[in-house]
Symmetry: C2
Subunit: 199 residues, 2 copies
DNA sequence: TCGCAATGTTGACACCGTCAAGATAAGTTT
DNA sequence: AAACTTATCTTGACGGTGTCAACATTGCGA
């Protein structure tokens, strides 16, 4: 009964994000409500509104955390000393693994809820831009090493390549046209598609 | 004042679908409520429930209509007498054009709301399967004519190819990492990616 | 120590999906 | 034509949602 019931919570912002994160992981983002979240954290309905402007802002914060996580993961990979081709292969596998293991976060990061139905926070936009830039930079290197096609700008190739991965992730996550056991084979085929050399 | 206010509506099912369709087209699917829909159609809150089990069922019906529309559109294209390679190119353009012009329906057809958060109706599943099968059959032909890569089954190539298109559509529709004026260039690049011949 | 800003609370409002019970109309059987 | 059944539509109600306004408590800097 050390900290059973003080008026001020301590670090509510962090608690909210943590609980929200595990709630959406378990029950999906559409069943997350501000009221339930507040209840789980042990605080009144409207307390969260002193830490996040509204629900959209909280979701944006979750997505932003996701971008940092994902970028950290991928940067970690790039530090390994492997042939670049193998590195790219692993990158693709890792990308889909992340989407799989953090599916709800992935949905927030790249999904409609924030980007179309809602309004992305400035700092979320910044984080996503940062991630995109890192990606494009790497694409440039991959083009130079003749792993990705060089018949267009790094931007274009980066866009189409990422779009392909994203489409795969979405079909898998939404469970349409893709059985779980198919995924591994699909990823391998996708890599072949993406890397197939032009001539 | 011919049909101003009779107790029975006439063809409420159709009216609901039509109004719902135009409502989501204008204001997005997340702002569609059964109550507002009923109000627009000029009927009481719960009348729609005599025609659709619940909101999910109504959305499924909209998605199903979308599948028929899309398939009709594509079948129409396939009847043209063009070199197969050009036909495929047009197919891709048409696919993205459909996604663009019926973005809300496209979201329902392939999105999370029905397939993950909700429960797809049996007849919706049937319609989507049908569409998928038609696609795979055509992929087989494209492989034989050496337009799509033949280094894997029609199923796999069909899955990855579609996933790529789908990813492009989603990035575009959700407005992340893709400016509108980039789309055309991206589609062309994507076609090159998909068609690039293996050797 | 005082006062203010940060953080928490309860109350209220306008929405939402949808169930239950009753009213009305159309269709079917006698 | 009358009676019964079924499809359709209505109002009332319940529990859930996001979030605004007003008020209470606390911690911190002057």
């Amino acid at each position: 009964m050390t900290n059973s019931k003080k008026y001020h919570h301590g670090d509510l912002t962090k608690s909210l994000l943590d609980s929200a994160s595990s709630l959406i992981k378990e029950h999906g983002v559409e069943s997350l409500s501000m009221r339930k979240l507040a209840d789980v954290v042990g605080v009144s309905r409207t307390a969260p509104y002193h830490h996040f402007k509204d629900k959209n802002a909280l979701l944006c914060a979750l997505a932003e955390k996701g971008f940092y996580e994902q970028e950290e993961l991928l940067c970690q990979l790039l530090k390994q000393t492997l042939p670049t081709a193998d590195l790219f292969k692993q990158y693709v596998h890792l990308y889909l693994e992340y989407a799989q293991q953090h599916s709800e976060t992935y949905d927030l990061m790249y999904g409609r809820v924030i980007w179309k139905a809602g309004t992305p926070t400035d700092s979320l936009v910044a984080a996503s831009r940062q991630t995109f830039k890192t990606w494009i930079d790497w694409v440039e290197k991959l083009q130079q090493e003749n792993i990705l096609p060089a018949d267009n700008s790094a931007l274009r190739i980066g866009q189409t390549t990422w779009a392909s991965l994203h489409g795969l992730a979405r079909f898998y996550l939404d469970g349409i046209y893709l059985d779980k056991e198919d995924l591994s084979g699909m990823v391998d085929q996708m890599i072949k598609n993406l890397c197939r050399s032009p001539h």
